[in-house]
Amino acid sequence: MKKLSFSTVMLWLGLIFLYAPMFILIFYSFNASKLVTVWGGFSAKWYMELFKDQQILDAVWTSLEIAFLSASMAVVLGTMAAFVMTRFRRSWAKLSLSNMITAPLVMPEVITGLSLLLLFVHMADMIGWPAERGRLTIWLAHSTFCAAYVAVVVSSRLRELDMSIEEAAMDLGATPFKTFFLITVPMIAPALTAGWLLSFSLSLDDLVIASFASGPGATTLPMVVFSSVRLGVSPKINALATLIIMAVSLMAFLSWYFARRAEKKAKAAME
C-alpha cells in the first residue's frame, strides 16, 4: 500500500472544503423548521412556496432570456475574435483586438459594471439610445464579457486545428466564407457548444455587472437573491439555491463533457 502523502491529504481536505458548504446547504433546504439552524424534520414545503413566489419566477424568466441571448451573441463575437487571433496576420488592429477581448477576464466586476453604466447614460444623453436601461443593456454588457471566455475556449481549439484541411478546401475553390461554415465550424462545434454553455452560466450567475447595467426595467434572479440574502439566511432561498446549484452543475458538466469529447475526437483524428 502506498503511503498517504501530504499533498494527497491536502487534496482531499481541499475538496471537502469546496463541497461541504454546498451539501450542507442542500441538506438544510429540506428542513421543515423555519429556524434555519435547527433541524425540524424532512419537508419539501419551501420548494412549494418557491413556486408560488411570482417575483422569483419572473426573475428566473428574465435571467434565462438574457442568458440565452447573451450566450448566443458572445459565441458570435468570441468566435470572430478567436478567428482573427489565430488566423490573421499580425497588425495593430489584431493586436488591440486581442488585448481588448481578453481584458475583461481580469477586470474587477465593479469597474466593468460602472464603466458600462456610464456609457449607457452618456449614449442616452447624446443619441437617445438606449432610452431605458433594462434587458437590452444587460444583454450588451453580458455579451461583451462572456465573449472573452468564448474567445479563450475557441482560440485554443482553433490553434490545435489542422490548417491543411481548410487550405485544401480553399485550393479546391471554396470561398473563405464557405470554408468557414462547411469545414471550420463543424470541426470546432464542440468548442462552440462549450463556450455557449459557459457563457450561459456566467450570465445567469452575474450580480455585479447586471446591477450596474440594469435600470428599473429588469430584475434578474441574482439581484432578487442578493436583496433577500442581505437580510439573512432564509429557508426559501436555501431551496432556490439548491435548484440553482443543481441546474448550473448540470450545465457545467455538459460543457466540460463537450469540450472533452472534442479533445478525444481531435486525438483520434490525429492518430
Binding site: 469546496l18 450542507i24 475574435a81 448550473v248
Partner: protein, 303 residues
C-alpha cells in the same frame, strides 16, 4: 473566372467584417467606457439627472473644460478611502497566500495522480467555480453565524462554551475569498506542474537530494509561472470584490469594491465612484500586466 473574382472580393470584405465587427463592438462597449469613467472622475457631483456637471461646455465660441481634481483630493483627504484601499490589498494578499498554501499541494497531488483520475479531479475542482458565486458565498452565512452549524457543532462537542464570533468579521471575509477563488489557483498550478519534466526530479533523487530539498530547489522554481498566474487570478478579483465583504464582512471590513458600490448606489456620487475606479485600476495595472506577460509567454511556448 468571374465567380472566382467575386469570391475574392467577398473574401476581402469578409475578412474586414470578421476583424471589424468585434473590434467596433469592443471599442464601443469596452474601451470607450473607460474613457468615460476617466472623464466623469474629473467632473463635479450635482443634484441632477445624470448626477454630475458636464466636463466640456461650449458657449460664446468658447470651449470650457472644467476638470475638477477635488474627487482625487478627497480620496487622499478622507481616511475612509485609503483605509479601504489598504484593507482591500491586505485582504487580497492574505487570500492569495491562503489559496497558494492550500492550492499548491492540491495541484501537486492532481498532477501526480494517474491520468484517468486527473480529469475527474480537475472536474471536481472546476465544478464549484462554475456554480453560482452568490450561492456559494451565501452557503457560508448559515455555517458561520453565531447560531450557525460550526458554532453549534463546536458547542455540542464541548470545545467552546459560547459561540465564536466569526460572521461579520475579517475572518469570515478571508474564508469567503479563499473558498471562492481556490479553483482559480489550482487550475493554472496544475497546468504548470503536469508539464514538468519528471526526469529532473529523479536525477535529484538519484544524486541523494531529500524530497523537501528537491521541492524547494527544483519543483518550486520551475513552477514559478503557474504560481504567478494563479496568484494574479486570485489577487486581482479579490481586490475589487464586492459580494463577499458585503455578505460575510462586518462594518469594519472595509474593501474598495464595497465603498465604490456605496458611493455609487447609496450616495449617488458618481464622480467619486469613478475616481475610486480609476485609482483601483491604477493599483491593479501592475498585477494585470504581469499576468498578461506570463500568459502570452505560455501561449507562445505552446504554439
Amino acid at each position: 473566372m468571374s465567380k472566382r473574382k467575386k469570391g475574392f472580393r467577398f473574401a476581402i470584405r469578409g475578412r474586414h467584417f470578421t476583424l471589424g465587427f468585434p473590434f467596433l463592438w469592443l471599442t464601443l462597449f469596452f474601451a470607450l467606457p473607460f474613457a468615460i469613467v476617466l472623464k466623469i472622475s474629473f467632473s463635479t457631483a450635482a443634484i441632477a439627472i445624470p448626477p454630475y456637471e458636464p466636463t466640456f461646455t461650449y458657449g460664446d465660441q468658447l470651449l470650457n473644460i472644467a476638470l475638477n481634481l477635488g474627487n482625487y483630493l478627497l480620496l487622499l483627504d478622507d481616511a475612509l478611502y485609503y483605509t479601504a484601499y489598504l484593507g482591500s490589498l491586505k485582504m487580497a494578499v492574505v487570500a492569495t497566500i491562503g489559496c497558494l498554501l492550500l492550492g499548491y499541494p492540491m495541484a501537486y497531488a492532481i498532477a501526480r495522480a494517474p491520468a484517468k483520475m486527473q480529469t475527474v479531479l480537475l472536474l471536481l475542482i472546476m465544478l464549484p467555480s462554475w456554480t453560482s458565486f452568490l450561492i456559494r458565498v451565501y452557503a457560508w452565512m448559515g455555517l458561520l453565524a453565531d447560531t450557525g452549524l460550526i458554532n453549534n457543532v463546536l458547542m455540542w462537542l464541548g470545545v467552546i462554551s459560547e459561540p465564536l464570533k466569526i460572521m461579520n468579521t475579517d475572518i469570515a471575509v478571508y474564508i469567503g475569498l479563499i473558498y471562492a477563488y481556490l479553483p482559480f489557483m489550482v487550475l493554472p498550478l496544475y497546468a504548470n506542474l503536469v508539464k514538468m519534466d519528471m526526469s529532473l526530479l529523479e536525477a535529484a533523487a538519484d544524486l541523494g537530494s531529500r524530497s523537501i530539498n528537491t521541492f524547494w530547489k527544483i519543483t518550486l522554481p520551475l513552477s514559478k509561472g503557474g504560481v504567478i498566474a494563479g496568484s494574479m487570478l486570485v489577487f486581482i478579483p479579490s481586490v475589487g470584490e464586492f459580494v463577499i465583504p458585503e455578505l460575510l464582512g462586518g462594518p469594519d471590513s472595509l474593501m474598495i469594491g464595497k465603498v465604490l458600490w456605496q458611493e455609487f448606489f447609496n450616495n449617488r456620487d458618481w464622480p467619486v465612484a469613478s475616481a475610486l475606479a480609476i485609482v483601483m485600476l491604477g493599483l491593479l495595472i501592475i498585477p494585470i500586466t504581469l499576468f498578461h506577460h506570463y500568459q502570452s509567454r505560455d501561449l507562445e511556448k505552446e504554439a
